[in-house]
């Protein structure tokens, strides 16, 4: 027999001598993050044992072991993988609510018991509008090209998806869909227009002016959502064509309206949206990062799926890759391409201007020499020879463009607020994609500057969390609407010297 004592709570867990520590902790209901499920790979299940930090999944319990867990389980973790602040919920006698986050790529739904605030079931799916184009602009173009039917077709696609997910979560929880009192939706501005069947065409062209920005409250059945006859649909407010309700929700969840200091919120994706709270002032902008960070436009790129390389290390002994699901590598996803660029920079294979080092400048005995090959005159990094995967100069340039776009938005906001990187107290990273980008990669590629490395906070799907908060509280609805009105939008392309800021933001960090 052996025993584990949790230092923080004094809780005692008795187990077999030699038992696996992670399993013991999880078995006792203690939260330890373990994305790789005990493979000793992700490094997330660290705990402190007698002052030493260890991976719990690789540790055996012998005798009496005092353990300090390092991460607290977030409250309502079941609701979303994201941060949820304390807030006062309205008192409901019963009934159910639905929260929805409509992303351009994925849609996430949760069924909430209004009385307890608990999420009873959730579902997610690929946005069915993908048939009309993968990105918002292509879908808007569809509306231009099909002025008679486009708006309706796009609306039907998303409404059908939502109806499908409603049936799914209601079935799972054994709830009749007529018992749904309210549905709260956060989405980007284009998705919100398309959900409500509003013409989105003006979003796609300068001066990028949407048809509406305000929060909407209507009957869900008006747009074809199959719930109760009186089910209310609440759509969170928006700031501009490229700062939608999803970002307002995120800013609210991060309590930026209450921040006294300087806090930056960033949602990294095809569009990078950035909000800065500086001494009570709120500013925001959006930058076109392109799809490179999601593995698109990259020669060996793929979406994050089994077999995608998600982490890369370059050592003197060769190139080590980690794939999703521990499969044979078939391509590289967004987090992988960032990791590889970070490593190329760290080892000097790519210079800070983004160009590959010339092979002839390396000595033949240099460990990096065999890692570069010439394809014609173009230099390429051999990522995985057997799988025929390479990183081209063009790939590095795509990442460089994305990095330049995001960092330039960041810098432009700081310039406008008249503060420097060092003045920032916190940087909140939102979004599903951001959640997979470690600080090492974000800072190592210079997407975010070194100065903020220790200030990063990952908040997960803050869009859905924001919809949850408005669902649970009328006061939050009011505050979210006030927040949206207070957020000052800055059009990057129209700021002075933007091209210069962008050009400077393109330079990679030097090691």
């Amino acid at each position: 027999m052996a025993e584990v004592i949790i230092r923080q709570t004094g809780q005692r867990i008795v187990c077999e001598d030699g038992a696996n520590l992670l399993e013991t902790l999880l078995g006792a209901g203690i939260f330890v993050d373990n994305p790789c499920n005990g493979k000793g790979k992700c490094g997330k299940c660290k705990v402190k044992v007698e002052g030493e930090t260890l991976l719990s999944c690789l540790t055996e319990v012998h005798g009496r072991m005092e353990v300090e867990t390092l991460h607290k389980e977030r409250k309502h973790k079941v609701l979303t993988k994201g941060y949820l602040p304390e807030f006062e919920k309205d008192a409901y006698d019963g009934g159910y609510g639905i929260v929805i986050d409509i992303g351009t790529t994925t849609v996430v739904t949760g069924l909430i018991d209004l009385q307890t605030g608990k999420e009873l079931a959730n579902a997610s799916m690929i946005n069915a509008q993908k048939h009309f184009g993968l990105d918002v602009l292509t879908r808007i173009t569809y509306e231009y090209e099909h002025p008679e039917t486009g708006i309706q077709e796009l609306q039907e696609a998303i409404v059908n998806s939502i109806n499908g997910m409603l049936r799914e979560v209601c079935d799972e929880a054994g709830v009749a869909k007529e018992e749904i009192c309210e549905i709260d939706v956060a989405a980007n501005c284009t998705m919100m227009h398309m959900l409500l069947g509003v013409d989105a065409r003006s979003i796609g062209r300068s001066p990028y002016k949407p048809e509406f920005l305000e929060a909407k409250m209507l009957k869900a059945k008006e747009i074809g959502i199959e719930a109760g006859d009186d089910t209310v649909l609440y759509c969170l407010p928006q700031v501009s064509a490229y700062i939608g309700a999803d970002i307002v929700a995120g800013a609210y969840v991060c309590e930026m309206q209450k921040e006294k200091g300087n806090v930056l919120f960033i949602d990294i994706g095809t569009n990078g949206e950035i909000v800065l709270a500086s001494d009570g002032r709120l500013m925001c902008c959006s930058c076109a990062a392109g799809p490179a960070l999601e593995g698109m436009n990259i020669s060996a790129g793929m979406r994050a799926a089994e077999g995608a390389i998600e982490d890369v290390k370059i050592t003197e002994h060769g190139v080590e890759v980690v794939t999703i699901g521990d499969q044979n590598p078939v391509g590289i996803c967004g987090s992988g391409i960032l990791a590889v660029v970070k490593e190329l920079l760290r080892t000097g294979l790519v210079k800070k201007n983004g160009a590959f080092i010339k092979k002839e400048k390396l000595k033949e005995e240099d460990y990096r020499y065999p890692m570069i090959r010439l394809n014609g005159t173009k230099r390429e990094f051999i990522l995985h020879k057997e799988a025929n995967l390479f990183v081209t100069q063009g790939d590095v340039r795509q990442v460089q463009l994305a990095k330049g776009a995001i960092l330039s938005g960041f810098v432009a906001l700081l310039n406008k607020a008249g503060i420097s990187m060092d003045d920032l107290d916190k940087v909140m990273i939102a979004g599903q994609f951001g959640a997979h980008l470690p600080a090492d990669s974000l800072v190592g590629t210079g997407i975010l500057p070194e100065a903020v490395k220790d200030k990063l906070v990952y908040v997960g799907n803050s869009s859905k969390t924001g919809a949850y908060m408005t669902l649970m509280s009328k006061k939050v609805k009011r505050e979210v609407e006030e927040l949206a009105a207070k957020m000052d939008y800055m059009e990057l392309a129209e700021t002075d010297n933007y091209e210069r800021v962008f050009t400077e933001s393109m330079i990679f960090p030097a090691f």
Binding site: L137, T138, I140, T141, Y144, R201, G204, R205, S206, A288, N353, G354, A355, T377, K378, R379, Q393, G394, R397, Q400, G404, E491, A493, E494, E499, F502, T503, M506
Partner: protein, 217 residues
């Protein structure tokens, strides 16, 4: 002892290539003080540096932003040398009008094409971004241009290029100009569909293509 002309030309060229604005200004001033002709300083110094930069761009050694920084250095050098050029009529130059079509405000690619075309000796009239479609035609007519260059980064606005071609036809000057298009969503297929004369994927190609179409060596 006076510095040789070759040495100063090399400093001008290197300064552009290495994006060193201060070095370029200094070299340009010394060059004028030594009494060498401004025209050679521009062509064999500044433009030579820019040409070397575009070679590196083609070889993927330099990127868009590097070339933009090189051009900054070239333009500060031009500001010093240009006032010392002898008066020549500008009619000798091949003229083009360039802009980002209505509805789009992304202009970095357009700027790069403009710089490369100017470096190659074209006179470019830059209409900027989010340019009203009729304006391309009006300016083309007034200025008797040889080239109409349009760019866009967005699928929502690329249709405007086709409209400009129709407007050129209506104005009766379609066969007097070559229409060149470019930008993220543009393809050869799209260029064929709307009846543009040329599509190129980058600024260096654009220059080569323009020269070829207009039979300029």
């Amino acid at each position: 002892m006076a510095v040789s002309k070759e040495e100063l030309l090399k400093r001008l060229s290197d300064g552009v290539l290495e994006m060193e604005e201060d070095d370029v200004v200094e070299a340009a001033k010394e060059y004028l003080e030594a009494g060498y002709p401004a025209f050679d300083g521009i062509m064999e110094g500044l433009v030579d540096g820019m040409n070397r930069a575009s070679e590196l761009y083609e070889a993927e050694e330099y990127f868009v932003t590097d070339v933009l920084l090189c051009s900054d250095a070239m333009y500060v050098g031009l500001d010093v040398l240009r006032p010392h050029l002898p008066e020549v009529s500008s009619d000798a130059k091949v003229k083009g009008v360039i802009g980002v079509v209505e509805g789009d405000t992304h202009d970095i690619g357009k700027n790069l094409v403009k710089i490369m075309m100017e470096t190659a000796g074209f006179e470019m009239i830059d209409l900027g971004r989010d340019v009203e479609l009729q304006k391309f035609v009006d300016v083309a007519k007034e200025e008797k241009v040889d080239l109409v260059c349009m760019s866009t980064l967005m699928t929502t606005t690329m249709g405007g290029m086709e409209t400009v071609i129709h407007l050129l036809e209506e104005a009766g000057i379609r066969d007097q100009v070559k229409v060149m298009i470019g930008g993220g969503p543009i393809s050869q297929k799209f260029a064929d569909k709307i009846g543009a004369d040329a599509y190129t994927t980058n600024a260096v190609e654009a220059v080569k293509c323009a020269k070829k179409m207009l039979n300029i060596a």
